[in-house]
Subunit: 189 residues, 2 copies
Amino acid sequence: MVRVGLTAERLTRAGAELADEVGFDEVTVSALARRFDVKVASLYSHVKGSQDLRTRIALFALAEMADRVADALAGRSGKDALAAFADAYRDYARQHPGRYAAAQLRLDPETAASSAGVRHAQMTRALLRGYDLPEPEQTHAVRMLGSVFHGYISLESGGGFAHTAVDPQVSWSWMVDSLDAMLRARAAS
Amino acid sequence: MVRVGLTAERLTRAGAELADEVGFDEVTVSALARRFDVKVASLYSHVKGSQDLRTRIALFALAEMADRVADALAGRSGKDALAAFADAYRDYARQHPGRYAAAQLRLDPETAASSAGVRHAQMTRALLRGYDLPEPEQTHAVRMLGSVFHGYISLESGGGFAHTAVDPQVSWSWMVDSLDAMLRARAAS
DNA sequence: CCCATTTGCCTAAAGCCATTAGGTATGAAC
DNA sequence: GTTCATACCTAATGGCTTTAGGCAAATGGG
């Protein structure tokens, strides 16, 4: 009985890697046990169960993604910041599709409130400060940016753009440009 | 042995209803058999299996949603059409969350090509004709509209907007307004 | 109208996943 | 070196999926 040295953290990291390889939906307690060459029941000493494992992976991905976005945003402002912000999310999703999917997991309000999710919201607001929108509109804009970027990434990764010849990268840039123009127009009004 | 009269169509419809009640992820061959008070194996005469069932529900939802959107679009143009288009999707997702989720199921390219998915794309293009965009941009705009609306609906249904007091309906209207303005600006340029 | 064939639904069984209960051995601390 | 916590194990239950093979109800040709 060789001790492998499992911990909740190692399981979470391995789960994140597994998610990137086979998809978040296929991340299962059994598959993870197999990967560590350990019996399934052994994992239950470290995580409460399947749901707990998935939640941990989601929180890990949210935090990692927030770090990336924060890095991308550092020292930038205006349209430059907007593009860096957008690319940080899209790049993360392309490099780590499973983790990105994990980050979309519905968390219960309490867990969500203590997650890196709030950093994402804060960074979006910080970004928008550059556009000087009055308060109700700032919230609208936060929601809109979250929607476009998340929606695009989700459709792109789902192969939704595969049937057209137009380069998704070009559409992405066009979209970021358009959003910048739109936000500047709204600020002026 | 009373015959219940199962067919692939009845199973699909019942599956769609079940999805709305318990979520698309919980739609299972077993649950559906239970609902018809029939043994699980009996369903396998009508659908190939779990994946087939889910695909059928997805195709059903895509078609139903396309019908709704087509109705909403009839006789409208410009911003009016844009708002009706957007609302048709959002209303469908709110009335039928499980079906809306089903409609996001990744289909293999062949199935997708013969699904109502193409009608969705066609209607989006038709809608955009009102804005008179040159060709490469039209594709960008199709993608952008799909992204914003899908993204918003997905975040809203996931409770992503629950922590702020601002009415999601107001943000939605603001977003539609902003998109309309943006598209008109792009047409002019 | 009846018999044959189709076919709708069944039982049985195997495989995989999740989860819990309770056992054994290992590594650390005294 | 003995003790004690704990890391990992075996065993067992229950759910979902899928396949194979059987019986009976519907259907239709003679």
